[in-house]
Amino acid sequence: MAETMAAEGTVRPTALAVAAPTGRRRWPVYAGRAALVALWLGSWELAGTYWIDPFFYSKPSQIAVKLADWFTEGTSYGSIWLQISYTLQEAVYGFALGAVVGVLLGVLLGRSRFLSEVLAPFIKAANAIPRIVLASLFVIWFGFGMSSKVATAFVLVFFGVFFNAFQGAREVPKVIDANARILGASRLQMMLTVVLPSATSWILASLHTAFGFALIGAIVGEYTGADKGLGMLIAHSQGTFDSAGIYAAMIIMTVLALLAEAVLTVVERRLTRWQPR
């Protein structure tokens, strides 16, 4: 039972990093990337100008104008910074809550055969619920304010982190576990000095994808019903057939996700200083 539960939704710790280019290859790699972006945007712009209808597909120059407009004039619902900070807060709260609860429960169940066997079917069932649907439910439960979005972000973050923490806690090397017990570690000391550090690479691997999920949760939540935030901007753009607005919001979200990824990478480096590199 516990075996199959572990396999459910884990992200392998090794499957995370896209290596930054190093050494002699560095400049050609950057040049190649820039060329790819130029080619993509250029062909889109050309196509939008001559062949396809920019009303439906928009084009890079329109999106740039839209972005400039949002950042200088503000959106029709107030400053763009207000929308960003609103969405970001929901994502961060959902992320933090989901990560903490996920790690605690995952590690606890990972260390307790009995608890994990009792709870496994329920957790699997809960994990099988299409979580996006919950967003609608949360709007009914918690209203149009921030808490319904935090709840959506939370459920999206929780399961990924939980399964990884669970797996990490189960993979403490036997001899290290035995050594700590011989040295006199209590259960709590065991958790803090052995299990959690041992599970860090598993947990961190899940946190990388988790922030992306938190953003998705916040935006889907806003899209379902809100009066502020990037998801609300997307819903509004859709309502007014403003495809440039949808793309512009998408770009802002992407930048946010990349920034969060960068922060997480720094945190990860700090937490895993002890690992060979």
Binding site: I176, A178, A180, L183, G184, A185, Q189, P197, S198, W274
Partner: protein, 269 residues
Amino acid sequence: MTQSTPAIRLDRATKVFPSADGGSFTAMREVTLDVAPGEFVTVVGPTGCGKSTTLSLISGLEPASGGHVSVAGTPVTSIPATVGYMFQQDATLPWRTVVDNVALGLRFRGVGKAEARSRANDWVQRVGLGGFEKYYPHQLSGGMRKRVAMAQTLITEPDILLMDEPFGALDVQTRELMQGELLRLWAGSRAAVVFVTHDLTEAIALADRVVVMTAAPATVKTIVPVTLPRPRDVDEIRLDPAFLALYRQVWDSLREEVEIARTKGASRG
């Protein structure tokens, strides 16, 4: 032997493991052995015969399947507080620096951070790792990690010290240095030591008694008392005629078992 309660008593202790093919595998059969407080016992036997298993029973990490195991007169049901165990495998915490690894046992016992650190620092010097306090285990050699493990175990001043091939990975000089250091520390501590090794010279030079185990399943084959005077100089004692006689005696007993283990291993594939 003395009349007092033995530090360790194995009474027909047996250990059966479930084997990979669904059957069972007897790793120890009716091992009977008393170790007196302050006594230094070394254990030799063919590889895979059950020496590590014996230590895990004494330490309370594994329950016996049959017979009795007691430490200081109390039956072993969980890990006794007075036991120190230096494992055959690398067991240092990879996420702790050398000094924090050594301080671990003290921290678990509630000693304050500053005091634990300073005592750990002493131990780091004693095992010859001065200057490496801030290193992580992966930055050390295998032999250096063994020395971290030794300091980590000894800092808790155990009454019963279990050591599983602690010096196997060291070069000859460092090994002799560590053997000398171990004897010196032991002489001042009254700890009962069970020390597993494949090195017969080491086994005899350190021991009050050498226990020779049979091929798997392990039982006690012979016990050879070593009456060479102490304190001993590990380096010089090897040339002593009495030492050579003991060496021959232990080796003759062990050789048969090694051959049995070899043919069995070969037939098992």
